[in-house]
């Protein structure tokens, strides 16, 4: 039986939904193989209340409205998949700020800010049970397609648990960290991206979130030997790998 799929975005950049739309070669088949019954980004007529087999949700929970929508989605779907680093870990919107949040909002929007519905950004799992997680900022096309294939067969996608270093090794890259002292976060970041950034001469910034059992003290020590300050390491980690979690 064809699976009923819903695709949603909370607070985010739309990147993970765009990755789906960027599967230009596969999209016609996907549209034929599944029923996208609730996909506001691509349709003006959606079944917003009926049951779903799979809900793909991108973006972090950054407002009361986001939280309410997420709870509604959880209640009507059999499987909930967090898509992208914002949904999985909070993402860049959960990065550390230079001051208290309310104060920064007021600086910008003036007193009107106090009336806006907004809150520190949290991952989906802070609010509801999540059944599967696709990391990435954005998610990888090949992981999305493999996940869709699994979900359409009624199973869950396989989770990645190795660091970016393994991807770099497979591509036989020279290690930017060890040979050039570049502050690359690959050793503490989830792989599966085929080490795209180091392969293009750019250090990993940790956008796929933390690898399980990430050894942050070890990374900090190695970078200290390469004369990268602890302050810089903290700053880089604070973007995606170690998001700010307000109580």
């Amino acid at each position: 039986m064809t699976q009923r799929i819903g695709i949603f975005g909370l607070s985010g950049c739309w990147g993970d939904q765009l990755v789906l739309l960027n599967c230009e070669d596969e999209l016609p088949r996907i549209l034929g193989a599944a029923r996208l019954v609730d996909f506001l980004a691509a349709s003006n007529e959606n079944d917003t209340e009926g049951p779903l087999d799979v809900a793909l949700v991108e973006g972090s929970v950054g407002s009361a409205r986001d939280e309410e929508r997420l709870r509604e989605i959880r209640a009507r779907t059999r499987v909930l998949v967090a898509c992208g680093t914002c949904a999985c870990f909070g993402g860049i919107a959960a990065a550390h700020l230079s001051g208290p949040r309310a104060e920064l909002c007021r600086q910008v929007y003036g007193p009107l800010a106090d009336g806006y519905d907004q809150a520190p950004h949290r991952p989906l799992r802070a609010v509801v049970q999540v059944d599967a997680a696709l990391p990435g900022c954005p998610i990888e096309k090949h992981e999305l397609l493999a996940a869709l294939a699994a979900l359409l067969q009624g199973t869950l996608p396989v989770a990645v648990d190795h660091p970016v270093c393994l991807d770099c090794r497979i591509r036989e890259n020279t290690c930017l960290l060890l040979s050039e002292g570049v502050p690359c976060l690959g050793s503490v970041t989830l792989g599966g991206c085929r080490a795209r950034c180091p392969s293009l001469g750019a250090p990993c910034i940790g956008c796929r979130g933390p690898v399980p059992e990430a050894n942050l003290p070890s990374l900090t020590a190695v970078l200290a030997e390469k004369r990268v300050s602890a302050e810089e390491v903290e700053r880089r980690l604070a973007l995606f790998v170690r998001p700010h979690e307000e109580a």
Partner: protein
Amino acid sequence: MSRTIEVEHLGRVEGHGAFTVVLDGPEVARVEFRVFEGLRLFERLVLGHRFDEVPAIVSRVCAICSHAHAIVAVAALEDALGVVPTPRTSRLRELALHGGNIESHALHAFALALPDFLRLPGLAALAREQPAATLLGLRLKKLGNTIQETVGGRAVHPVTYLPGGFSAEPSPEALQALARDLTAALDDCERAVTVWSAVPLPLVGRAPIRCAALVSQGGDFLRGSGIRISDGATLPVRAYRDLAGEFAVPHAHAKQAAHGGRPYMLGALARMTVNGIPGGRAGEAAARLGFRVPSQDVLANDLAQVVEIVRSVERARTLVAELLEEPAGAARALPVQPRAGEGIAAIEAPRGILFHRYVLDGRGTVTDADVITPTGQNLGHAEERLRLTAASLASLGDADLRHRLEVVCRAYDPCLSCSVHVVRAG
């Protein structure tokens, strides 16, 4: 008698928006275009980060225009650091901008806007009823993504942009593949014009449209040397705040821009209104589409996007040929000496002028940042045009009027995640 026309969650746009129009008989009593994204506070996120970390952070403002944000960011940072990019770097960045323009316009024209004009709910229905047009739109979209991947390393949230150049250049093989793809795309450009020349556009409110765009010359139409408004006023990019003097509104998590208290429109229609319709294939496309400037119809922006797809394909072909003719290597970023300074830059993102400003301290760390997006600037004009449309079509039934108002919203191709951002008031 009072009527309320409301869409609580706008479909087929990027991001989260809604509108309410209240009519009192034939008069419009209230119009609100609401943006309700959670605030992600990007201009505060970059504070304390070093200049080379900025492009990857600010590209995350938005997925569709992630290259535009990264490219204008490096330009603004170079302005602050006193770095002048090489001609090869400049060409590669311009090529990526055209890739983004092609991708964004193809997505909007075919997947987001076209269903309205064919009375279809969305992409899945379009794929069933109009498979050829759907595949055409997807091919053009893919071309735009391939260009962006080749230059920036990834279509969404690029990797290679740095102040001073690139962390890695595309290989000659990759550029040759682009040259072939772009030549093959010329037929698809013709097909796109054929499809759109037969699309019936519904009637919406009409009145002169005040446009703003970067002053550009020749084929490099996504960058420019200053700002011009269609009423003749010009101002330098450094004075961007005089144009986009923003004010927060209670009903939107976005700030509206209103130069001199009067809203203005940005984007493809605005670019050609200010700088003229080009010649070549793009000019022929405009003629076949019946696209003329100035226009009083915001829906002309949809046609303008189709003209620009053709124009960006033409320009990208020229750029790739130039890149293949010269030796590679001049675009590799060299180490940049940090210094204190302020930098401002602007480019034409697909939806209009995008401004970035950064202030750096002596270590090259960001101490202040400003991002003004085109959609944030368009919101005021969109509200005004909703008011005009509701007033002029008040005799329509609720469902028809609501659809007509949605079509007006979509004509701006709003990128609502972008429009919510932190800009220091005053």
